[in-house]
């Protein structure tokens, strides 16, 4: 029966052509994973932060815990269009895959949405670029390097409205922002600002009036001492949230913030909210210090802990002995022998 031979030859030739196609299809492909957008959840700091602060944040948008966010899985074809191609791997320990029959020369992307992000780095691991012929007979696999594609920041909220905090702060003379001598930076012009403070070069660059801002006199540095070994992830999250909230209140009032924990490298940029949040996002998994780093000097110390860590207690005592004002947050039922005002909270947020 010659027709059966013809059919057999065609099928065989299709399989052979598919093998050649599969070899051609696996060249020139690349994979890129990145955060594409964020969907703030109710009560997310992203809704509260002013635009000028958000503009300095992570690109394209900061993602706070509880927010939704989209990860763009982008495939590039440097040598012209390819397909079928699909990529599969893990993002935040979840299996994710995306595929297409055609990767144009300009590239192809697909956004995968994640909801209710948890604080911490979002890693992409075990990603592979799979290719095949259109019929699916022959496949090729290429491994992509593991990477960190996003950092989920801790949630925070202003704690200034809390009565006890306000009482504590009442003893501190609130300096007027922008009235010191040391150059603090620039900010947008607000009605009432002196015309002499306008920074004309920056105004021309930004297209709007920008004024110099000077550090207020007598501003103090807030030291936030955190528990280096939180027992559970929920406690660590709460420590990070309270620390971030304290930092935010301080920075908003023109202060500086240093966050430290025994055995942990202290933060480096006292006025950079995003640097502090990034530190707290990784808390408590930061690289340990080489040797015993001494607690940073500060005008006020806020301790956030869930346990009576001896090194932490000692650092707080030392600060008290130096005359630094000390207060604290205790998460849970830990008994601390410190002569300082303490507020006891649980792991629920807001506190």
């Amino acid at each position: 029966m010659p027709w059966l031979f013809l059919l057999a030859w065609w099928v065989l030739a299709l399989v052979g052509a598919a093998a050649v196609y599969a070899g051609w299809n696996r060249s020139g492909l690349s994979l890129r994973l990145a955060v594409r957008n964020a969907t703030p959840a109710a009560g997310s700091p992203a809704d509260e932060l002013p635009d000028h602060v958000l503009r300095r944040g992570p690109v394209p948008a900061p993602v706070f815990e509880g927010d939704g966010f989209g990860i763009e899985i982008a495939l590039g074809a440097a040598r012209g269009e390819r397909g079928p191609v699909w990529a599969a791997g893990q993002i935040a320990n979840k299996d994710v895959s995306a595929g297409t029959g055609l990767v144009p020369k300009a590239g192809w992307s697909r956004v995968k949405v994640f909801r209710a992000a948890r604080r911490g780095p979002v890693s992409a691991s075990g990603w592979r670029i799979h290719t095949s012929d259109p019929l699916g007979f022959f496949g090729g696999v290429r491994r992509a390097a593991d990477s960190e594609i996003a950092l989920i920041l801790p949630r925070f909220a202003s704690l200034a409205a809390r009565r006890q905090t306000r009482e504590l702060e009442a003893s501190v003379a609130a300096p007027r922002a922008g009235s010191g001598n040391e150059l603090f930076g620039i900010r947008e012009y607000r009605p009432g600002d002196s015309l002499r403070r306008i920074h004309w070069r920056s105004s021309a660059r930004h297209g709007e009036l920008v004024v110099r801002e000077y550090e207020p006199p007598g501003v103090q540095t807030l030291g936030i001492f955190v528990d280096p070994n939180p027992v559970t992830t929920e406690i660590a999250d709460q420590v990070a949230r309270i620390a971030a909230s304290e930092a935010w209140d301080c920075l908003r009032d023109g202060g500086r913030v240093v966050i430290w924990g025994p055995g942990l490298e202290p933060t480096q940029s006292p006025r950079d909210l995003w640097g502090l949040l990034e530190w707290l996002a990784r808390y408590p998994s930061q690289a340990p210090t080489n040797g015993e780093a001494s607690p940073p000097a500060s005008g006020e110390v806020v301790m956030v802990t869930s346990s009576a860590n001896p090194a932490l207690i000692e650092a707080v005592d030392e600060a008290r002995r130096r005359g630094t004002r000390v207060r604290g947050w205790v998460i849970g039922d830990a008994e601390l022998d410190i002569d300082a005002p303490m507020e006891r909270v649980g792991t629920a947020w807001p506190v």
Partner: protein, 668 residues
């Protein structure tokens, strides 16, 4: 037992979510049904089947995620049994007209099961049934246009693979159009070229592969020695004739009478006549033996001593024909879907009724290898052959019917021939050279002997005249000969391995008895080879194409190569090789790494390093680093070579050829 059940249990098949894939499955079925409509000329059930299958696909797709219910499954099973009843009733009793019951059953099966296509495996099942439909249509397809249908079905299969695969990776059905078109067109072209160029092994399609409506008519009465349509005389119930009368001949048209799918173009032998009286041939032997529809080799005579093996013919009858199995002889085995067969005394097979249009049968025949040298060696006086000569064969040597003038002519022509073969060839070539073939012959004048009138008066005639004159003149020389009727090869297509036999291919020739070789066909008709009754079997389609160009010398060698049955393993070997390569590629695909490409100087330097080591009394031990080895050996040359090797291995800076040459010169 549980382990056994696990062993036989099929792995779960995923639900087929691809609507495009399902569309391709339906299209494949529609293409197969189209083939049945065109080539099987069956319309009602195919059209109903396509409509039902379309509805079924829609239902299946919509309900693909629902669980199967018992009652629906039971209903579909009942419908399948109904279709089974249909095929049995139509096959045996022709209750529904008896048109392609097997194909209609397959169509109904697809239509019914299309309401339950949930998984990918279900879709594959539907595709494979449509492939069976395509095969059924191919049995009746005798032109190249069927290639278009086969290509369409192949594209549907590829489309299903494509859509299903893309759905599996959650992708839309799209891709690099140009690359895919190149791939598909390239595959179709490569497949077509391979089909033409690579030998096709000749299989033996016995009963299960022959698609034909069984004919359960039984024999009534004796065989009447019917002839094929050369002469119309009183016939038996099968509509055949009983003798060949040379006084006149009916007109033969161009209409096809049968298709023969075969690897070897041959003469399709029908009836044999041994008695010539008053211008008419009849058969003297009326004995027969009953045979089953499938006649195995053990029921037939042993293979002739000189043969090149066997080849297969599948015949499809197009017009009503007498109940005679036309086939190349000698026959090794045959299958005809009839209630019974009879073999007459001349080795011809008969069916009880007329062969109706659509009837098919398969015959496996020996391919004779009768060369002039072989036939010249036949010794008629050999005692063994004399003993084996049947007594009733004396009728073949009866010289009475021929006139003295014809006898004298035969003696004159055969004078000087040293043996029987030369005598036969002398007469054959004499007739071919000195007499003209024509179909426009006036009736034989009254009172004239047709043979004498042909030989000495008009000197023109048609095949019966040539064959009769040859047979009778041979008999006058003492050589047994008889008249054979049947069909010439017809229009043979070497690519499709098939011949279209038309009415005007009806033919008559002579069978001559050669001691030790039996009856050998000889054709005295001008324009044909005297011994060319059966040619080389054409396993090589390409060889067949070459033979279409007779002025090219490549034709004969290619055809001769094709006669070697062992070469039929070539396509199998190619298929196995491709499968092995694909399997190897599949096994290695996960660990595939590009081969390390040696840089210039790398191989030379490493060879030099080996040479340097051989010069010392001790080679570098496996745990020893090159530097440790160098320090142990304390050699300046070794130090330089080691440094070059380390730079190459660890820094990727392999020395150029000049530097390696310098080091090599130092060692020498």
């Amino acid at each position: 037992m549980a382990g056994l059940r696990r062993w036989f249990r099929l792995p779960a098949s995923p639900i087929e979510h691809s609507v495009e894939g399902r569309a391709f499955v339906f299209s494949g079925f529609a293409v197969a049904v189209l083939a049945i409509v065109i080539y099987g000329q069956d319309y009602v059930v195919p059209l109903l089947g396509v409509v039902a299958a379309g509805c079924g696909h829609v239902v299946s797709y919509r309900e693909r995620n629902r669980k199967r219910t018992f009652w629906r499954q039971a209903f579909l099973a009942a419908l399948v049994f109904g279709a089974l009843f249909y095929v049995i009733a139509d096959s045996s009793l022709a209750l529904f007209g008896g048109v392609l019951p097997q194909a209609n059953f397959a169509i109904l099966l697809v239509a019914i099961t299309s309401f339950d296509l949930k998984t990918r495996r279900n879709c594959y099942s539907s595709l494979w049934i449509s492939l069976a439909l395509l095969y059924l249509a191919a049995v009746y397809a005798w032109d190249y246009a069927f290639g278009i249908i086969a290509a369409l079905w192949t594209l549907c299969l590829a489309g299903f693979w494509l859509a299903s695969h893309l759905r599996r990776i959650n992708a839309q059905v799209r891709g690099p159009a140009r690359a895919i078109v190149v791939m598909v067109v390239g595959a179709l072209v490569a497949g077509g070229v391979s089909f033409i160029a690579v030998p096709q092994p000749s299989g033996v399609p016995i009963s299960p592969l022959v698609i034909s409506l069984p004919n359960f008519t039984a024999f009534r009465g004796d065989i009447e020695s019917p002839a094929l349509p050369l002469v119309q005389l009183a016939g038996d119930p099968s509509g055949a004739t009983s003798s060949v009368d040379l006084h006149y001949r009916g007109r033969l048209g161009d209409a096809p009478v049968m298709y023969v799918r075969t690897g070897a173009p041959a003469y399709w032998r029908g009836l044999v006549f041994d008695t010539y009286r008053d211008g008419a041939w009849t058969a003297s032997q009326h004995g027969y033996r009953e045979l089953p529809p499938y006649v195995p080799p053990r029921l037939l005579p042993a293979a002739p001593p000189d043969n090149l093996g066997t080849f297969v013919q599948t015949v499809r009858v197009l017009r009503p024909l007498p109940g005679v199995i036309n086939a190349a002889y000698p026959v090794e085995s045959l299958y005809a879907p009839v209630a019974a067969l009879r073999e007459d005394a001349y080795g011809t097979f008969h069916t009880p009724d007329q062969l109706k249009p659509g009837q098919t049968y398969s015959v496996v025949s020996y391919l004779p290898n009768l060369t002039p040298a072989v036939l010249r060696g036949a010794d008629p006086m050999d005692q063994e052959h004399l003993d084996a000569y049947p007594d009733h064969y004396d009728v073949y040597a009866d010289p009475d019917p021929v006139s003295m003038r014809a006898r004298d002519l035969a003696s004159e022509v055969a004078r000087g021939a040293a043996n029987e073969y030369d005598q036969v060839m002398a007469l054959t070539t004499y007739l071919q050279r000195n007499y003209r073939y024509t179909l426009n012959l006036p009736p034989v004048p009254a009172g004239k002997d047709p043979v004498d009138w042909f030989l000495f008066d008009v000197k023109t005639g048609y095949c019966e005249q040539f064959a009769t004159a040859e047979a009778l003149m041979l008999r006058s020389l003492g050589i047994p000969a008889r008249l054979v009727t049947g069909y010439a090869t017809g229009d043979y297509d070497p690519v499709l391995n098939q011949a279209i036999v038309r009415e005007h291919d009806a033919h008559a020739w002579v069978e001559v008895w050669f001691p030790g070789h039996g009856w050998v066909p000889v054709d005295p008709t001008p324009g044909v080879s005297p011994l060319a009754a059966t040619r080389f079997p054409n396993h090589w389609a390409g060889g067949g194409i070459a033979r279409l160009l007779p002025h090219l010398t490549i034709g004969a060698p290619a055809a001769a190569l094709g006669s070697l049955g062992a070469l039929a393993v070539v396509p199998v070997a190619i298929a196995i090789a491709v499968a092995v390569v694909l399997a190897y590629a599949w096994l290695r695909r996960r660990t595939w790494k590009p081969r390390h490409k040696m840089q210039p100087g790398e191989s030379d330097l490493l060879r030099l390093y080996e040479r340097v080591q051989r010069r010392f009394s001790r080679r570098r031990a496996p745990p020893e680093t090159p530097l440790e080895y160098q320090h142990a050996m304390q050699s300046q040359l070794l130090g330089d070579v080691t440094q070059a090797v380390n730079e190459g291995v660890y820094a990727g800076r392999w020395p150029d050829a000049k530097r390696v040459r310098e080091l090599t010169e130092r060692i020498s």
